[in-house]
Symmetry: none
Subunit: 206 residues, 4 copies
DNA sequence: ATGTAAGCGAGACGGTACGTCACGTCTTCAC
DNA sequence: GTGAAGACGTGACGTACCGTCTCGCTTACAT
């Protein structure tokens, strides 16, 4: 079964290697000059492709970047059960550290977030993706911990994910400093204590 | 008598109302279009001033923004002793929340951080200011808590400040969601437990 | 039975109605936009035909136009003997007027001549055709006039044809004004006197 | 008295050497690629000038070319009295030959004439200029000849100018052949006989 | 009071990118 | 093999900004 549509007949087809080259160039341009100075002209030049080939696919640099975003956030990560809340937390912290340390995330993410403050479409796409990932991870960790009896069901999932993502993003992307050895253990231990304490206080999750 | 006297000789003088109008326009432009799209032309237009008047004062938009930054970060905040680590933490969390919720911080900070990834001068200025503030606050909180016997001297100050700034920045500036009532209490309680736990483990601060 | 049969073998054949439609479209395009703006794309569009069908027949717009030219200039015109040089001249002037007044000549000829200044192939084709026609007509008129004793054999044929074609082309194609009634008579009378005078002077034809 | 306007105040001024460089480039482009392929981009490139500098002066290539035309056709030529119609004619024929043989005229004129067939503004400008020149020359030659008694006042001025301009334009610009030595004498002699004959016939000028 | 150096506005200039259009070439498909 | 469809690279369009620079006018100090 040919993947390629059977439409009109004898129709020329968007060449996928060109699409790929352009999206790749977008990533590189984004990290070098930012979204504000990103230009279709520059992307086309860098991709070794004609401007018209770019405009045939997307009407603006916004659509281009949104498609790139969609492609990037759609990947799911598997999180095996490590046997304890502490170990699960360490695993998540390690993974997130690695992701945020990646040059792409370090260079492109702050830029998209800054642009999201001005562009509702970017904000929506970006936040939806982050929130989905956070909810998945939060639910998984909490349900395992509750099953193990490590946490009560009342635990505030939002606080948990803020405590995981916040410090790492702050340290890596904002302060642009490295995560020292042992930081993951220390942080996950702190998070575990914090959420256990918070869930004990009986403060109703907001 | 004139404050501005003693210049070379027979010199016309930079009109201060123009300087002020331009800096004001820079702030508004920054929050509307970001650093990437910020232009001297746009700033001059918005300030109702000729481009040459701007370029006479700063050689580039970078110098302009750096001067603006320097003026903004030099303010010190007083942190009265609230009597307990928990209360001190709540105070700091409240203050930081208020600062980050301010439209200026919400709109301009992400943009400058994104640009800092590409511009060493911005990175240096910005990070120096943030780190100084963090160190001040961290030292103050920890020394009081150690005096009160709430924390051992071994507590990791960096982890502490990451745990304060990270979740708030993540929630407010990254996710652009509001801080719900009670969040400050919950977060400060969590932070207190976390740092106490971390300092108990005897993990050497990195 | 098929009119187009007997080609190589199992081979599809250039459909003549497409060839005709294209050439027809070339003429219309030429007179509307000129040679400079003439494009295979435009011709194909106007002919309701795919670009590839055109390019399979000619490699460029130049070949296309040259084929068109060759087809047009190959027609011979009969010039009956009118009995006197004056009458013969009037006939030729009338015929040439009619030809030059034709919209096709008025619109396309100046364009091809302009292009000939830049394109040797067009120049060659065009000038060869014009010169052949001029020589034919000149020889015919002169030989009849010499036979009648109206002109000596020394008459300068080039001057004659310049005096016929020049004023008419100037008035019709350059100045784009109409030929008023009586102009043909007046012009042919003038030409007759002129060539008779010129041949009397004994100036050797150059 | 400063030629330069006293307008707004402190206003920057179109630099005349740029205007000149552009117009010069227009001439060269026109003769190389013709009006159809003339592009503002190409002109600016050839003039070593920014496209914006061109568009600041003219809104389109048409305006540009029209200004060029106006500048070119406004020159008046002095025609001293040579003492006889024959000598006057020879002088005019010589001058016109020289003008038409000039590369500018040979390359640019046919192109503008071809474009005039499609563009009323070019047609108007061009024909007005040509007709004015023709009328001036015609009137001058005829009035002198009438004063001398060489021609009756009834002579048809249009026929005269057609007989001068037509053969020369045909030979030089259309056929692109050279004017042989003696051609000017031969032609002027022919023209003199022709107009004398035409004016004798009593044919009313149309 | 006057000379003069600087401030200031206006805007021309060389650039770059915009998003669109048109074109010649080339590939793919249906017939 | 023919013809249709259309993707592709190229290049020009006319516009919009931008940073630089030059130019008059104005201002305010120093003589």
């Amino acid at each position: 079964m040919a993947d390629r549509a059977r439409e009109p007949a004898g129709a020329a087809v968007r060449r996928p290697e060109i699409t790929a080259a352009v999206l790749d160039a977008v990533v590189r341009e984004l990290s070098e000059v930012g979204f504000g100075r990103l230009s279709v002209e520059g992307v086309a030049r860098r991709a070794g492709v004609a401007k018209s080939a770019v405009y045939r696919r997307w009407n603006s640099k916004l659509e281009m970047v949104l498609e790139l975003l969609s492609g990037m956030v759609s990947r799911r990560i598997s999180l095996p059960d490590k046997g304890s809340l502490q170990a699960d937390l360490t695993m998540v912290v390690d993974i997130l550290s690695t992701v945020l340390e990646h040059p792409m995330a370090k260079n492109v993410l702050p830029d998209l977030l800054a642009e999201a403050a001005r562009n509702p479409q970017i904000e929506t796409t970006l936040h939806a993706a982050i929130q989905a990932a956070q909810r998945d991870v939060g639910d998984l960790l909490v349900s395992r911990a509750v099953d193990r009896g490590e946490l009560p069901g009342t635990v505030d999932r939002e606080l948990l994910t803020d405590l995981i993502a916040g410090p790492l993003y702050w340290r890596i992307s904002v302060m642009r400093s490295h995560v020292p050895p042992g930081y993951a253990d220390q942080l996950s231990e702190a998070i575990r204590c914090a959420v256990q304490a918070a869930s004990r206080t009986g403060l109703a999750p907001h």
